[in-house]
Amino acid sequence: MILDVDDLADLSAGAAFLATGGGGDPYLTYLSACEGLRKYGPADLLAPEEIADDALVVAVGAVGAPTTSLELLPSVDESIQVLEAYKSLTGRKVDAVVSFEIGGGNSLIPIVAAAANGIPVIDGDGMGRALPEATMMTYALAGIAPTSAVALDYRGEAELIEADTTEAYEALIRAFALERGGMALSAEFQMTGAQMKSCIVPNTVSLSKALGQALREGNGSAQQRSARLAEVFEPSIYGAFKNLYSGIVSDVSTSVQGGFDVGKAVISPLIEDGRAPLYIDIRNEYLTARQGDAVLASVPDLITILDFETAQPINAERLRYGQRVSVFAIGCPAHYQTDHALGVVSPRAFGFDFDYVPLMR
């Protein structure tokens, strides 16, 4: 499939939905991706099985604290620079690029990198959503080493990063981003085509586009569009889809801590109707949705907040006092339901004192 400027609006909207509150501002990445494809031409989207087993695949995307991306704008030429720097610092030529997270702007960056460098981008990603740390990628869970990696800052300066573990790499890339304005671009998780096929969450780029189309074509409030969205998710690798709550944001507070946006949001009934408020924990993404003692949904399942009236996804950094919203939960891909994966992405791994209970269909 060819991805051109006209495909980016739906893709970006679907990716914002899958971003579960994180992933950075989708509009900025959308604008720069449009400029990128106008400048470099369309990109070739290939299904994972279309990639040769011995191809050299690298994951490309942005790392950092999303609030800073609202002010520190991306640059159009950075997607060409990051692969140039990768080649000059590692001596390796990349055959195809892949997204490390489909949620948010990181769905679009590899597409521009592919267009700019004349190589294909793969239909799939390493998360099926957005998550805050590299250790949580399906690539890392499959044992693929994140380095040699190359990080690029907003000035266009690149650095080679080597680390023994993904945890060590994560700390290094975060420190790099924090020191240089809060955001950085990286090329990481070099793998063969065969390795990629064994761990990628497949077809999420095309699903994202279909999801964006469903959001665009829908009518009425977020609740009213629920059925149309369910049609996209239920036959997919995600499965379950639920409308958890609709109400008004009565408190929201976040701060940048160690390179993450950390905080809480409280959603109260629109009209006092006796329902207890819904509490959302935020760590770049929406991690848990709780009501009293009940956990309605939790990571690694997806929690997304939509504008009640227009059904547009609202990111954590755009969530504001007084907004009317609808909260949705979506099941996670099977990649995250193994004991091994849950050791990294379960609520306990995020410091909560309860276990993951999968969202039921």
Binding site: D25, Y27, L28, L31, S32, C34, E35, K39, A65, T67, T68, L70, E71, L72, L73, P74, S75, V76, D77, E78, Y154, R155, G156, L178, G181, G182, N219, G220, S221, Q223, Q224, V252, S253, T254, S255, V256, Q257, D307, F308, E309, T310, Q312, I314, R320, Y321, G322, Q323, R324, V325
Partner: protein, 520 residues
């Protein structure tokens, strides 16, 4: 007593309000120079016996600035200057704007080094040679207006202020809008707001001059306020600096006026004008605000605005294709000369209503020979347009009360699908002017607080108290004050727990006979 004036695209309406009561109402046509329409309205109020010396306040709502942007008319060319390179390479100011609006503001676009990062470290060093080049460009183009936006300026406005100082020193009389004074975090939207505001500055001077002249002509010595997009009032002088803050005040006034006229707190309001119908939602007596980034003239901004759906049906809408197509083209304020019932030669929505016998406007004989099929088809088309618009704004399948206001309210049928009841309040034609006259006094306070020293609850209460004090001293009734906005920006590079908190409150205007601070 107060006078409320609404300067719309087609009509200039004026009301005299005595407390809750509408004493007088008048509709005049908006004049090209604005002031003639206002004078005509005021002269009428005076002729009907209004003692201008007894007027305690004049509240003006105006859509002129919104219309100027939408119609790309009367906009000044603006030097668009952003400080923040090397971030955002290839992403210049006005990227993503509609081409005609971008062109209207000219092609003086500059990206400079400088600014700060989130942690207070310099993003890059300011380059004096780049500033000199901007000065040279603005001078060679004889530009009188510029907008300056710097990365992270809501947290540190110093680069914007420094550049402003340099430009003002080099170019006397330069009018500037600095982004930190008009927008919040979110560089692109803040920059857009600053650019639109700057493009309206010279127009704003002419408009305020006209307001002042009208006040002098009618010996109005009382305060003159202008209503803002959030339903609060600003002193007229403030409009010279921040005309963009009037965006969408028209719909806000119309919604508030509709609530006042019917006593309904929750309803959908359809304001039918000459060219469009604006559909908005009343929740608790206030306009439902748009949650999302709001577009003005096709440009993303982060103003707080009412959630309004504008559909292309008004009294002047052209009726085409045997009545199957109505609008969005309209004769606009030429309705009174171009419509058939006014002796013109253009078939408009108003002519259909007169032909159907649903209203008496102009000369009914002029439409007597329209075919009944055409009239029936056109009525159905209008009803469908309104019902579709209504459906798009509703958030549940439950029928809701619908309030019709505006001069074109005669276009709507007795019943509408989705409406539990259709209200046509008396004086609905001047709902905007009534809404302006009951606009609220706002108060805003912004403080740096430290949660390590003061707990969050106490800190927020302190800032809210400060905002309340501002509103009360500006004439708001203390008991009526409520918080409408609370914004918290954590400043990560300062002491742990430091934040910038901004609180906005609103309250009813105390009658000027009552000392501020006492409930009437």
């Amino acid at each position: 007593m107060r006078i409320g004036i609404d300067v719309g695209g087609t009509h200039t309406d004026a009301v005299v309000m005595d407390g809750e009561t509408v004493r007088l109402a008048h509709k005049a046509l908006t004049s090209a120079d604005i002031i003639t329409g206002i004078r005509t309205a005021l002269r009428h109020l005076q002729a009907e016996g209004t003692d201008m010396r007894a007027i305690e306040a004049v509240m003006i709502g105006t859509t002129q600035f919104t219309n100027a942007v939408i119609e790309r008319r009367g906009l000044a060319k603006v030097g668009a200057i952003r400080i923040g390179l090397p971030s955002g390479r290839g992403m210049p100011p006005k990227l993503g704007w509609p081409g005609d609006l971008s062109t209207a503001l000219g092609d003086s676009v500059h990206m400079l080094h400088g600014g700060y990062l989130y942690d207070g470290q310099p993003l890059s060093q300011i380059d004096e040679a780049e500033i000199d080049a901007v000065i040279e460009d603005l001078t060679s183009r004889s530009l009188k207006t510029a907008a300056i936006t710097s990365a992270f300026s809501p947290m540190n406005a110093e680069p914007e202020s420094y550049l402003a100082e340099r430009l003002r020193a080099a170019i006397p009389g330069l009018q500037l809008t600095l982004s930190h004074s008009i927008g919040r975090v979110g560089l692109l939207e803040r920059e857009n707001a600053a650019l639109l505001n700057a493009s309206l500055l010279s127009f704003a001077d002419r408009v305020v001059d006209a307001f002042e002249q009208a006040a002098i002509d009618f010996s109005l010595t009382c305060p003159v306020y202008v209503s803002q997009n959030d339903g609060t009032l600003m002193q007229k002088e403030f409009v010279r600096e921040f005309p963009a803050l009037t965006f969408s005040s028209g719909p806000t006034n119309s919604l508030r006026g509709a609530a006042k006229l019917t006593g309904l707190q929750d309803a959908i309001v359809i304001d039918i004008g000459g060219t469009t119908s604006d559909i908005g939602v009343l929740k608790g007596g206030f306009p439902r605000e748009s949650n999302m980034v709001v577009e003005v003239g096709g440009v993303r901004t982060n103003f707080r605005m009412p959630d309004i759906q504008a559909i292309g049906l008004g009294g002047g809408s052209l009726v085409l294709d045997e009545g199957r197509t109505i609008g969005p083209q309209s004769v606009g304020h030429d309705l009174v000369t171009k419509a058939l019932v006014f002796g013109g030669d253009t078939l408009t929505a108003t002519d259909i209503i007169v032909a159907a016998g649903r209203a008496e406007v102009g000369d009914p004989t002029a439409v007597a020979d329209l075919s009944s099929e055409l009239v029936a088809m056109a009525l159905t088309t209008m009803q469908t347009i309104l019902e579709d618009g209504l459906r798009a704004m509703k958030t549940s399948h439950e029928p809701v009360p619908v309030i019709l206001v505006g001069g074109g309210a005669i276009l709507a049928p007795e019943t509408l699908a989705g409406a539990s009841k259709v209200y046509r309040p008396e004086n609905s034609g001047v709902a905007n002017a009534i809404g302006a006259s009951i606009a609220l006094i706002g108060g805003e306070a912004e403080r740096f607080v430290n949660y390590a020293e003061t707990d969050r609850e106490t800190a927020l209460a302190d800032v809210t108290k400060a905002a309340t004090d501002v509103a009360v001293s500006a004439g708001a009734v203390p008991a009526s004050i409520r918080t409408t906005d609370l914004e918290e920006t954590i400043i990560p590079y300062m002491d742990n727990g430091a934040a910038r908190v901004r609180v906005k409150v609103v309250g009813d205007v105390a009658s000027l006979n009552t000392p501020a601070g006492e409930s009437p």
